[in-house]
Symmetry: D2
Subunit: 363 residues, 4 copies
C-alpha cells in the first residue's frame, strides 16, 4: 500500500535507482498557490550531500509539477510531482543481489515478493521519503495559511549526546538540526570519530506543531496520535514513537501527569496536545527513535539467497547516522497527518460553532 | 472513524453507559469454528473486577453472536457481536457534564463535536476495548489454526518496578500479568499503597507474536510496524510504542543493532521481527507505554464549559493503574493487525512460491 | 465488503433468519435530532405485508438505537441500529440447503464461501435492505435540514404497464407507489392475474433528488453518477441503472441531448442533473431496472450440491414483483450517496466561495 | 477521488493539455512480465486519429514505465506509467475559459472548485481514459495468464443502427469495432452524413468476460455488478449500464428470466453471469450507453461565468460519436474490476477448496 491519508491522499512511487520517483497528491483543496520552486527549500534540507556527515549522493531533486496546477494555483484535481533520478550510479549489482544485508529489507522483500530490485535498496530505500517531503510542502502551506499551524522539528539526541540548550534559530543553522549551536563542534568530532570507526549510531528526532486548534482527530481508530504513530513508524529506520511524555509516563504519578487547567490556560503538556485522540489546542509533541544505519564497511555475518553463509561488507556512500536527515521527513509526516485530519474534521463537524471558551495552550 | 483494518475490518460502536457495545467483523474467511463461549476467556482476562486492584464494575460481558455464523462456523458474511451494558449505574451526571476533567477527553470531544455523552466517559471510555478483545478472539483462532501464530503479552513495568525473572506460565497466574511470580506480593503492597494515596501510576506492556512467517506487511504506508504502532496508540492511555530495540536503538551502534544471520538462524532480534515494514520470521516484539489514570480522588484544577475555574474530584471506581488490564487489549490489537496483513499478503502475493531457504527465528 | 460510503459509512450485518439485522452509521455529523420513531415511516413503506401484492411476512422492524445518540441528538460517534428478526419461521431447510435455486445466489455463495446459510436466503436476502432504509432516514433528515434536498421515488413501470399521468401525491396513496391513481385498479387486476399464474414480472423505479446544489461529486472515480450506479446495482434484483436520458441517449442527436442554458435556467435535463460526475443544480434523475422474482411455484430445472439434476419448486411467501417494495430502497441509496458526497465536498472545497451566478434548475 | 479499486488500486492524474498524464498501479502481484511495448496495442485501439471518423489529435501515447518493474517483471511495488502530452495545441483559451459549454463539465467544475483548467477540458477530458486503458493492459495480462479470463467488447449500436450479424473477428477489422463487416459501408455513410450536419449521435457498447470462475464479487456493497456499474458510469459520456438482460428484464416473466440449469450447464444467461453480486461462471455481460458528443459546431445557448447569455460554438476537432473510441475503455474498466475482485476473493476465500461440481457456462 503506497498511499498515505484518507482525504489528503499521497501515493508515492519509484525505486532508488529507477528512472524517477514521484507522487500523486489527491484531495487537495483548490486555490493553493503552488510553484516548482516551493519545493526547493525542504528538499534541500532533506537532501544528502548537505554536509560531510551525510552521504555523498548529489541528488538534483528538481520537482516537476505534472498536473493539478493551473496558472499557479491548485485546481482540486490530483497534483502529480516528479523527480528524475539523475545520480543513480550504474554498477554491478550482481553480487549484492544475491546477498541479504543484515538489518536491511533484502530478506523480507525477497520472501514477500519472490523478486526484488537490488539497485540502491530499490523501493525500500529512504530515497522514497523525498516525495513525502515534497508532498508535505503543500500541506505545510495550507496548514499555515488556513489555520496558522506551524510544524517544525529538531534533532533531540545523537547516540549518547543530548542537547544542553534549546534555540529554534540554531536548528536551521547547522547540519545537525541541533538546537544548541555551542555543541556543534562537539558533534562534528563525534561524527568524524564515528565515520573513522566504520560504525554508525542512532538518533532521536523531536517534532512539534503549534497552532493546532482543538478538535482535530477521529476517535477511535483514526485518532490523531494513532495516525501520527503510524506515519512516523512508516519512515525508514524508525523503531519507536512517543506522544508528549511518552515512555516517561510509565513512572509518572497520575497527579503529576494529568495536565491541569485554569481559565488562563493549561498548566502543563504531558499529553503532548492530544487527549482521547483529539487535539486539545496545546502544542502537539512527538518524539521519534531512529536506529543506527545497518550499512557499514565493518563486515557482518549474513546469508545469501541459497541459504549459504556470506560475509557482508557495504561499500559506497552511507550516512553514519540516518537521523541527521530525518528532521524534514518527520515534519513532513506530521504535516500530512494534520492536514488530512483537518479535512476530515471539516467534513464531519464543519458546522459546529463555538461551544465553549477555548483555553490558551499554556498558562 | 470507528473501523480498524483493511481486509479484516472491525467496526466498533457503543458508549460506556449506553444500552450496549458491539462490533461488526467484516472480511473474515469462511469456515472458522465459532461459538459464544469462545469469547469468555479473553473477556474475563480484560474485565475489571478481576482483583481488588482493578475497578469494581461487574460487567457481565456476555457476547451474543448476531450474524455471520451458521451451524457453528463463520460463513464469510459480517460477524456482529453484541454485549449489553448491564452495570451502567444511573446517577446524576449533571455536574460532571459541565466540567472538563484534566487528562480526559472531555474538553476535546466538546470542542470537536459540540456535544458529548458524559455518562462514564461515553465513547472515550476504555469500555470500547471490550469489543477489540472480542473481535481478536476470532483473529487469534485463525492465526493459530492456519499459520501457527501465537500472540501473547505481559506487564513489563509498573511505575518503577521491573520484572526480575521471566516465566510465561506465571503471567496468567496473577492479577498483574506479571512474568515473575516471586514479585507478586511486592506488587500487591505497591498497589495497596498507591490506592491509599489516592494516586495512580503508569505501566509498560510487552506483546509478542511467535510463528509469524516472513513476508507479512505492506511497504511503504501499510508497513507491519506502522500499523502496529497505530493499533497500539489507538488504545486509551497509550503514549508510546516501540518495535524491537525501540528507543534503546538511539544509543546503539549499527554494528550491534543490525541482526546478523547464519544458516542456523538470526543471531539477535533488535529489529523486533520486522525489516522494511515486513515480517522477517523472527518473533515480533512490541512495547507499549500507558500513562497513569487521570481520574483521581485527589482534587485537580480544571475549567468548566463556561470557562470558569473548577476543582475536579473524581469519585467512584477507577483503576489506579490502567495498564493492569491492558495486556489482553494489546494482544488483541496485535492479532488484528497480523490477521489483516496476512489476508493482504495472500491477496497480492498468494502464489509466490518458496524463493529462498527460510531462516530459523533464532540461531 | 459490507460497508457503504466513504465519509458517511454504513456497515450492515445480519441474515434473513438469524437473530437480528442491524447497521452501524459512522461519520454522521453531531447534533442531528434522532429518535426510534423516526424510522417507522420509511420502514413501513419498505415492509412487506403492505398489501396483498407483497409477501405475507409480518416484520415488526422496530429499530433500537444502541449508540451514538445522547439526549435525542447524534453525538458524532457511531450510530448502531438493531432490528430483531421476530418472524423468522423455523422450518426444515435441509432440502433447499442442498439445492441451487435458479436465479438465486445459492450457487454463487456456495462456490465463493464453501458454506452458506440457506435459511430465507441468508445474507443474500432483500431483508438486508431494511437497514439501508433505516440508515437513510438519517441521511434524508440531514439533507433536508441542512441543504433543503428532497429525495423521492415512484414506480415507473410494472411489466408492460407504464404510468399515464404523473402525480406525486398519488404515489404514497397506493400500494404500488404508482404516480397515476386512475391506473390502480388496472394494476390490482394485473397483479392478481400474475399471482394466479404462479409467475412474476420485472419493474422499473424512478428516483429523483431536488435541491442538490451544484458541486457535489468527485471526479474521476468518485463521480456522483458512478456512485449512484453502484448504489442502485447493489440492491437485490437490479439489472440496470440510468442517469437522465440513460439508454435513450444512444439514439439522440447531440444538438438535442446537450442541455442548453439561459440566465433564466437550464432548458432541459437530459443529463439528469450530473455533468462530469458533479451535480449541476438540476434535479438528479435516476432510473433502475428490477428483474422479476426468481422464486416461483412453477417448477424449474436446477442442480444440487452434488451436481445432480433436480426440480426446484419454491413454496411459501414471495412477491410476484420485487419492484413493488423497491422505491424506498432506491430512495435510501440515493440519499446515502448524496450525503456522503456532500461531506466529501465540504472536506475538500468547504471554503470555496460563490464563484459564479447559480443557474435556476429549470427555465 | 482519483483512485480506482480496493486491492488493485489505479490512481490517475493529468489534464488534457497539461505536460503529461499518468497513473500509479498499486497492489499488483509480483512476477508479471511487462514491457513498454505491451501498451501499444490497446492505446492504439483507443487513440483518436484511428480513422476519419474520430478526431484528428495525433497522440503519441508512448508509455514510459517509471517504477515497479525490474528486469522485465513486476516487483510488487507501485507501477507508475507516464505519457507525455505532445500534441496539446497552444491556443487562446481566454474566450472559452469564460463560457460554460452546454453538456460539458465546465459549469460543474467551476461551482465545485471555484477554478478550472479550461485547456481541452482539463481533467474532465476523455484524455484521462488513456491511463485506464494502460493500467488495464496489466490487468488483462494477469487475468489471462493466471485465470484464463478474456475481456473483449464491440460497438452494439450507433444511433439507430443495430448490428445484423455477430462476428468477433470482424470487430477489430473496422474502425467502428462493429461485429458485422457487411454493415461497415453503411456506417461510413452514416458517419459522413452526421459530420456534414455538424451534429453527433450516441452509441451503445457491449463488453463481455469469458472464463471468469464462480465466486468473484463481494456482497453486499462490493458486488461485482455494482462495481462494474460504477466503473462504466465513471467513463466520460456514459448515461446507463446494464448487466445481462438489463432493462429488458422489466418486461420479462420470472419463469423466462431465471436461468435454469442442468448438469450439462446453464440453459440461458439473462443474469449476465452474476447472481447475488458474485460471478456464476457464465459469461459476464455488460452493456453501456454513451450520450452524443456535446461539442458541436452547431451553435447553442449558454451562459458565461458572469451569468450572461452567450452563444456557444465549438470549433476544432471532436468526434461525432464518442462511442467509437469507447470499446477499449469499457474493456479496461471491466478488466480492472475483475482483477481487483479476484485479489479480494483470494484474500478472504483463498483456501476454500472445491465444494461442489462446477457447472459449464452454457449447456
Amino acid at each position: 500500500m503506497n498511499t498515505f491519508g484518507q482525504l489528503l491522499r499521497v501515493t508515492t512511487f519509484g525505486e532508488s535507482h529507477g528512472p524517477a520517483i514521484g507522487c500523486v497528491v489527491d484531495g487537495c483543496p483548490p486555490g493553493i498557490a503552488l510553484a516548482p520552486e516551493d519545493f526547493a527549500h525542504d528538499l534541500a534540507r532533506r537532501a544528502s550531500g548537505k554536509s560531510r556527515h551525510t552521504s555523498a549522493r548529489h541528488e538534483a531533486d528538481a520537482v516537476e509539477i505534472l498536473s493539478g496546477v493551473y496558472q499557479g494555483r491548485s485546481t482540486g484535481t490530483p497534483i502529480a510531482l516528479l523527480v528524475r533520478n539523475v545520480d543513480a550510479r550504474s554498477k554491478d549489482y550482481a553480487r549484492i543481489a544475491e546477498q541479504f544485508r543484515p538489518g536491511h529489507a533484502d530478506y523480507t522483500y525477497w520472501h514477500k515478493y519472490g523478486i526484488r530490485d537490488p539497485r540502491g535498496g530499490g523501493r525500500s530505500s529512504a530515497r522514497e521519503t523525498t516525495m513525502r517531503v515534497a508532498a508535505a510542502v503543500i500541506a505545510k502551506k495550507w496548514l499555515a495559511q488556513r489555520h496558522g499551524v506551524r510544524v517544525r522539528g529538531h534533532l533531540a539526541q545523537i547516540g549518547e549526546v543530548l542537547p544542553r540548550g534549546h534555540d529554534w534559530d540554531a536548528v536551521e543553522a547547522n547540519p545537525f538540526f541541533w538546537p544548541d549551536a555551542a555543541q556543534v563542534p562537539e558533534l562534528e568530532n563525534y561524527m568524524d570519530a564515528l565515520r573513522k570507526s566504520g560504525d554508525s549510531v542512532g538518533a532521536r528526532v523531536a517534532v512539534v506543531a503549534d497552532g493546532v486548534p482543538p478538535g482535530w482527530g477521529e476517535p477511535v481508530y483514526g485518532k490523531l496520535d494513532a495516525e501520527i504513530a503510524a506515519a512516523m513508524m512508516s519512515i525508514n529506520a524508525v523503531k519507536g514513537v512517543e506522544i508528549g511524555a511518552g515512555f516517561a509516563s510509565v513512572v509518572q504519578r497520575g497527579s503529576a501527569h494529568r495536565d491541569q487547567a485554569t481559565p488562563e490556560g493549561f498548566l502543563s503538556n504531558h499529553a503532548g496536545g492530544i487527549l482521547g485522540g483529539i487535539s486539545s489546542g496545546q502544542q502537539v509533541v512527538v518524539s521519534v527513535a531512529f536506529k543506527p544505519t545497518s550499512s557499514l564497511r565493518l563486515p557482518a555475518r549474513g546469508v545469501d539467497v541459497h541459504g549459504a553463509a556470506v560475509e557482508v561488507v557495504t561499500t559506497g556512500r552511507h550516512d553514519p547516522c540516518v537521523g541527521l536527515r530525518a528532521v524534514p521527513i518527520c515534519e513532513a509526516m506530521l504535516a500530512l497527518v494534520l492536514m488530512d485530519q483537518a479535512l476530515r474534521h471539516r467534513a464531519q463537524c464543519g458546522d459546529v460553532g463555538a461551544v465553549a471558551p477555548r483555553l490558551p495552550p499554556q498558562a
